[in-house]
């Protein structure tokens, strides 16, 4: 068959490939135009220059939480955190957004749970959240440095850079991350909204950021403020810090330590601290009203 016919078909094919490649490139660049102006990494780095190398962490005394009301009391802490950070309330458990929530001993510590665990330990509610790991998996896998580790150890989120690939959720061994499957704003209670904290958009991942904005102002995280001394915050690298003092006095465990991520949320079992660690009912809640906006419980 004629050479000519062959060559004409090829010419069309070639043009087809050319047009296809061009169309792809055009489409991608058009999409890119939609990206918002974003904060440059260097800007963030300069903001961090004042922060020394630390590793902030939390010590959660589950015995004390139980003594103060257990699940019911922890629910008030969760509500305070969620309303302060405008976390949407979504009823569908498959899509619900949580920065801090509770699990049973068996669930939170499935790797070390015993068949014959004592009644107290088994009955406690265990608040779980981001562990602000020393070597975080999520930071390693994120393709855009949306989630990154601050020099003070906080694992941060940049909601304006996240592409919503959810690789961090697959990598996190603690299930600490929530993805906005829908627009979160309609699910934030308008009467209970904190105008001082940004809401997120659909399609991005969020999680506990250890209230970096309060820490930067010299305060402590909201959950610590709402926990009446049951949760201790501090720098784990400083042996004189309050958190190190608390940890040196009681038995503590962490979640899934064998994975090597270095979780920095400790769970303490010691209800004697209720009386020795400076907490009395007379002092009342340790809120700092000027930092907690309207709506914080």
């Amino acid at each position: 068959m004629t050479m000519q016919q062959h060559s004409e078909r090829s010419l069309t094919r070639r043009n087809f490939v050319k047009a296809g490649a061009l169309a792809c490139a055009t489409g991608l660049f058009a999409l890119n135009g939609c990206t918002l102006e974003e904060v440059k990494n260097s800007q963030l780095a300069s903001e961090f220059q004042g922060i020394e190398n630390k590793q902030y962490g939390l010590a959660i005394n589950v015995s004390m939480l139980d003594a103060l009301g257990g699940q019911e009391f922890i629910d008030t802490i969760i509500a305070t955190c969620h309303s302060y950070h405008n976390v949407p309330k979504i009823d569908d458990p498959k899509k619900s957004m949580d920065w801090i929530w509770t699990q049973s001993y068996e669930e939170a510590f499935s790797d070390i749970a015993s068949n014959y665990v004592d009644e107290k330990t088994a009955s406690y509610a265990y608040p779980v959240m981001c562990n602000h790991c020393t070597d975080p998996q999520c930071v390693r896998v994120c393709p855009t440095q949306t989630t990154f580790k601050r020099p003070d150890g906080i694992v941060m989120m940049d909601y304006h850079r996240c592409i919503g690939c959810r690789f961090c959720m697959s990598a996190c061994p603690y299930g600490a991350r929530s993805f906005n499957f829908m627009d979160p704003r309609p699910y934030v209670d308008k009467n209970d909204m904190n105008p001082g904290y940004p809401t997120r958009s659909k399609g991005v991942v969020e999680k506990c950021t250890l209230c970096y904005e309060l820490i930067d102002k010299g305060s402590v995280p909201v959950c610590v403020q709402a926990a009446y001394g049951c949760i201790t915050f501090g720098d784990l690298t400083d042996e004189n810090s309050e958190i190190r003092q608390v940890l040196s006095q009681a038995f503590s465990i962490r979640r899934r330590v064998e994975l090597g991520t270095g979780p920095n949320v400790y769970y303490i079992f010691d209800d004697s601290m209720l009386y020795t660690n400076g907490f009395t009912n007379d002092e009342g809640p340790l809120f700092e009203e000027d930092l907690l906006m309207e709506g914080g419980e």
Binding site: T2, S7, R13, A21, K94, R140, T146, R166, F179, G260
Partner: protein, 443 residues
């Protein structure tokens, strides 16, 4: 003949129309998802990757499988694969396209996709996946384009195209290896955190990909003048057989390691797909269907007589392709999320909207492939008919000219002959006269 089949073939245009309708449905479903968010999928906070990422994984494999044709041809000069290779390269392009589309539809904030390039992050496997996938796509487009250009000019492709084709071989291996690394680096997901994932991926890809290549070749052979030799078919079928056996072997290694060691982290996801756990057994039918299909495929491929019977071969290839798809395009990704961080099992129930989006991405891949072998051809046929007519007119004119020239030549020759004859005559007469005169003089 190709042009007779494609020109005005109802089946062909019906197929294209059906694909276009599917693409339209997919685009509408995607717009719906853009507006309402990824709540229109079966994904949840616990199963945060679903069928999209599974299709991405599977089709990266199909794209990589082109090397099973490229290695024998380029490294061992196995000439039987000559006609197969360009088609294989275009199948790779279509497969990469489907894979990339499934990533685009999966991300929550697609407008920010270019952040992966704006903030390059070498410690993220997704960054490397982007690098190797786009390199592979580019290399395949360049090879396809230049090969076609060479074919058009009736010459061999330039030497550097051959070099590129050889570079494409490790690139193809790399795209699937890096895709496997996305999974096996997650220490918190024991089903994925296995060193053999990349091997499993490559083995199942080298089975499913060439199987699809053969199936599409048979369809092409039925409707066009695309020809693939029986020898090439049998060699590719043998490749599929070896690859699927390796895949089964690797899976059994996983089963042994998990169940003999009996660590619950390793056994639970496997038990979930093999038998179901605590009443959760939605993936069990896919697991066993895949097992049965793959065994049927292996048996047919191993018996030479059956393998060389075209109808049985088609059954075997279909079985293996579907089996591999159920294994990698459904179960592998979903089972990785079982159990979650808290030992819970959360089922994945696909949303109709995401099925439509996926169907749309498949249709786009099929459309691109059909266009390459299809629409380009009727257009070329129409074009070539016009040129053939022009050529014929020219030929006729040339013929006339030639005839006239011959006539003129003949006339000239006759005139020349006449002239020569006249001269001869004159010379003879002169000689005769001279002779006569001489005689007379002698007398």
């Amino acid at each position: 003949m190709l042009e007779k089949v494609f020109k005005g073939s109802k089946l062909y245009y019906g197929w294209l129309l059906a694909l276009l309708v599917l693409i339209g449905v997919g685009v509408l479903a995607y717009i719906n998802q853009l507006v309402n968010g990824l709540q229109l999928t079966g994904m949840s906070q616990d199963v945060n990757w679903g069928l999209y990422i599974a299709q991405f994984t599977f089709f990266v494999g199909v794209a990589a499988s082109g090397v099973m044709v490229a290695i024998p041809l380029y490294l061992h000069d196995y000439k039987e694969y000559g006609p197969v290779i360009i088609f294989g390269e275009f199948m790779a392009v279509a497969a990469v396209l489907v894979a990339l589309l499934n990533v685009v539809v999966d991300v929550g904030y697609p407008a920010r996709l270019f952040n992966v390039i704006l903030y390059p992050t070498p410690h993220s496997i997704l960054f490397w996946d982007m690098v190797v996938l786009s390199s592979y796509l580019l290399v395949n487009i360049i090879i396809g384009w230049t090969s076609i250009a060479a074919e058009r000019k009736g010459t061999k492709p330039a030497h550097w195209v051959h070099v590129l084709a050889i570079i494409a071989i490790p690139l193809a291996i790399s795209i699937h290896t890096v895709t496997a690394f996305i999974y096996c680096g997650n220490v918190g997901r024991p089903f994925w955190a296995s060193a053999i994932v990349a091997c499993r991926f490559l083995a199942s890809a080298f089975a499913a990909g060439p199987a699809l290549l053969l199936l599409i070749s048979f369809i092409m052979g039925k409707f066009t003048d695309y020809k693939i030799s029986d020898k090439a078919v049998d060699t590719i079928a043998k490749t599929v057989a070896y690859a699927i056996l390796a895949n089964v072997f690797f899976f059994l290694l996983e089963v042994f390691t998990a169940f003999y060691g009996n660590s619950p982290h390793h056994t639970e996801p496997l038990a979930y797909i093999l038998f179901g756990v605590h009443g959760h057994n939605q993936l069990v039918p896919f697991m066993w269907a895949a097992a049965v299909l793959i065994v049927i495929g292996i048996v047919i491929l191993l018996v030479k007589k059956w393998r060389q019977t075209r109808e049985l071969l088609i059954v075997a290839l279909l079985c293996i392709f579907l089996g591999c798809w159920m294994d990698k395009g459904i179960n592998f990704v979903l089972a990785g999320f079982v159990p979650n961080s808290f030992g819970e099992i959360i089922d994945y129930v696909p949303h109709p909207n995401e099925i439509m989006v996926i169907a749309g991405t498949f249709a786009i891949g099929a459309f691109v492939l059909t266009l390459r072998e299809g629409i380009a051809q009727p257009a070329a046929v129409a074009f070539s008919e016009a040129t053939r007519e022009a050529a014929e007119t020219q030929k006729a004119a040339e013929m006339e000219e030639a005839v006239e020239a011959a006539k003129a030549e003949k006339a000239a020759r006759e005139a020349e002959e006449a002239r020569i004859a006249a001269e001869e005559e004159a010379r003879r007469k002169a000689e005769e006269e001279a002779a006569k005169a001489a005689e007379e003089a002698a007398e």
